[in-house]
């Protein structure tokens, strides 16, 4: 992999994610920004996709089960050429193709509709099963929030994937430690999500979710593991790179224009710094 290129892409995704949300003025900043490094690895280094043919049958699939991370997907897809980036600066405007939560009927690049938490884990699993039936050499990448892991459906999906030996799906758990009402430890106190996933039979790795090399390597390890589904727990910082969101790990943010200006400037500088590193 090209680590430098990947880091630059991650910084570009962060900047564009902010711009997408800024177009509406408020939104789910925290849980979008912390996925930029994963998205950079997936779309910069790993996934098979064709922006001119988003439903290409042999593509790899991305399912953001934590559907509220839509903006990071819209930023990534725009950068990959699925549509002119400016189109995504209509987030949550009337008749937009870029709603808060990802919608397969509206946005090129979105494979499955999500928003009711837990459901993307199941639909991604069904898609992996369908691809396996057809013998396609493709993978499904399903991103689950740690707060989302409150939902029993996530664990039902793990049961199913293990029972059906789906080694063409990787579940990422975005382990940022926070959900809407506060730290996950104060809500349902998950303990170790990695140990739990492992106990469900998944080949599980836990890594720094902001280390692009570690993410890339973990995916390669998962590819090599045959006969079982994989889970990669990404230890992340909610709001990573958004100056107004990162300190408090906010779930959704409503910054004022001054805060927006500061955040966009900081994100632009971060991009320049990485380019010049």
């Amino acid at each position: 992999m090209n680590e430098k290129k990947c880091k630059v892409l991650a910084a570009e995704i962060r900047l564009e994610t902010l711009k997408v949300i800024h177009s509406r003025g408020f939104g789910h900043v925290g849980g979008s920004m912390d996925l930029a490094d994963l998205m950079a690895v997936l779309y910069g280094e790993v996934m098979k996709f064709d922006p001119k043919n988003p439903r290409w049958e042999d593509r790899d699939w991305l399912v953001l089960s934590k559907g509220h991370a839509g903006p990071v997907a819209y930023a990534t897809f725009g950068l990959m050429g699925y549509y002119p980036m400016e189109e995504a600066y209509t987030l949550n405007h009337p008749h937009t193709h870029f709603p808060s939560h990802t919608d397969r009927k509206l946005t090129p690049g979105v494979d499955l509709t999500t928003g009711s938490l837990g459901q993307g884990a199941s639909t991604a699993t069904g898609a992996a099963l369908g691809n396996k039936i057809d013998g396609r050499d493709s993978h499904v990448f399903c991103v689950i929030g740690d707060g989302e892991a409150d939902e029993g459906e996530v664990w039902e999906a793990f049961h199913f994937a293990y029972a059906h030996k789906l080694d063409n799906i990787i579940y990422f758990i975005d382990n940022n430690g926070y959900q809407l009402d506060g730290p996950t430890d104060d809500i349902l106190a998950h303990g170790s999500l990695a140990k739990k996933a492992e106990a469900f039979g998944l080949y599980t790795q836990e890594i720094d979710g902001h280390d692009v090399k570690a993410i890339y390597d973990a995916i390669q390890n998962a590819y090599a593991k045959k006969g079982v589904p994989s889970c990669i727990v990404l230890d992340t910082c909610k709001g990573k790179g958004a100056t107004f969101a990162e300190p408090k790990h906010d779930h959704s943010s409503q910054p004022n224009e001054e805060q927006w200006a500061e955040a966009l400037a900081a994100s632009e500088k971060a991009l320049e710094d990485i380019k010049n590193a």
């Binding site: 009711s116 639909t123 369908g130 039902e156």
Partner: protein, 324 residues
């Protein structure tokens, strides 16, 4: 449509569920894109044969209906034609959000099957008695909702379901013994009601489906004996409703009685009333479960208990005619 009415009020020697299971088996042999997902209830509707015959396309999802419905939607997203089964209580209430959002809202067709319609849940009791399952599916945009009467109608419908690729479908059906209404080889058209009896002298119309078709035919005979002529329509498709047929019957007979194995507050009677209010306001009486919960017992007892008998239909017809 090619409908042979038998209507002798005699039990079919065949289990109704086999109208589904054997048909699916044939369909899966012919069409490799058909998949089947069940929630640990294959043994109840004789679909274990599907898992045996098509192990790569018929799946056990265990007692986890929400995930099973999501898996079904995911399969549909890869181009599969997916049938998904559990008891009607669970394939409606237990996975409503998944079917609503991951399938219907997402534009993915899943064919949902709910066994043990209404009081036919009998000995599984009130906990397992779906009297609102159809209501839940009626309220989802673009759905098709079906309540077939017997083996051959269920088989005919099943063959047509795979041709529906827009919206979710929901078919509620009876598992075991059922009165045979139609002859073997009968073919029905989804969305078209079946006129079982009509004449120029009809004073009212009974619109019915499912296990209430046979009761309605008995009511027809009892009313005939009293010199009262009524039209009888098997409206096995609750949605999309055959509005043209309903309006014609309302205009020609001037009184409507609906008879359903479901809560009358939100089922066949309601969709018919909705249609009439918009197009041809007409007096209507509602035979069915009167906003009550289910309970345990033999089906015969339950049909008496909830007023799902020919006698109830006869009384409702007389009342409707008197209100004209």
């Amino acid at each position: 449509m090619n409908v042979k009415l038998i209507g002798k009020h005699e039990k079919d020697s065949r289990a109704c569920r086999d109208g589904l299971a054997l048909t699916l088996n044939e369909m899966m042999a012919q069409d490799k894109s058909i998949c089947y997902v069940d929630c640990d209830l294959m043994g109840c509707i004789n679909t274990k044969q599907l898992r045996k015959n098509y192990p790569d396309r018929a799946f056990e999802a265990g007692i986890a209906e929400g995930n099973a419905a999501g898996v079904a939607a995911g399969l549909a997203a890869t181009g599969k034609k997916v049938f998904f089964h559990s008891f009607g209580t669970f394939s409606s209430r237990r996975c409503y959000d998944q079917i609503y959002m991951s399938a219907a809202y997402a534009g993915l067709t899943v064919h949902v099957l709910g066994s043990d319609a209404g009081v036919t849940a009998a000995f599984n009791g009130g906990t397992h008695m779906p009297l609102e399952d159809a209501a839940m599916y009626l309220s989802i945009p673009e759905t098709t909702v079906l309540d077939p009467a017997d083996y051959d109608q269920l088989a005919s419908i099943t063959r047509q379901l795979v041709n529906i690729d827009k919206g979710v479908t929901y078919t509620r059906f009876v598992r075991k013994g059922i009165i045979q209404v139609y002859g073997e080889g009968s073919e029905f058209e989804i969305g078209k009601g079946v006129v079982l009896h009509e004449s120029d002298k009809d004073q009212a119309t009974i619109i019915t489906s499912g296990i209430m078709v046979d009761e309605s035919l008995k009511a027809y005979e009892a009313l005939q004996a009293e010199g009262i002529s009524v039209r009888v329509i098997d409206m096995f498709t609750w949605k999309p409703l055959d509005e043209e047929l309903v309006v014609k019957a309302a205009k020609e007979t001037g009184a409507i009685v609906t008879a359903e194995n479901h809560n009358v507050t939100c089922g066949l009677g309601s969709v018919v009333a909705n249609c009439l209010a918009k197009n041809a306001p007409t007096v209507q009486e509602f035979v069915g479960v009167q906003d009550r919960f289910g309970q345990v017992g033999p089906q015969d007892f339950l049909m008496d208990e909830y007023g799902l008998r020919a006698a109830n239909i006869v009384a409702a017809v007389k009342k409707a005619i008197a209100r004209k």
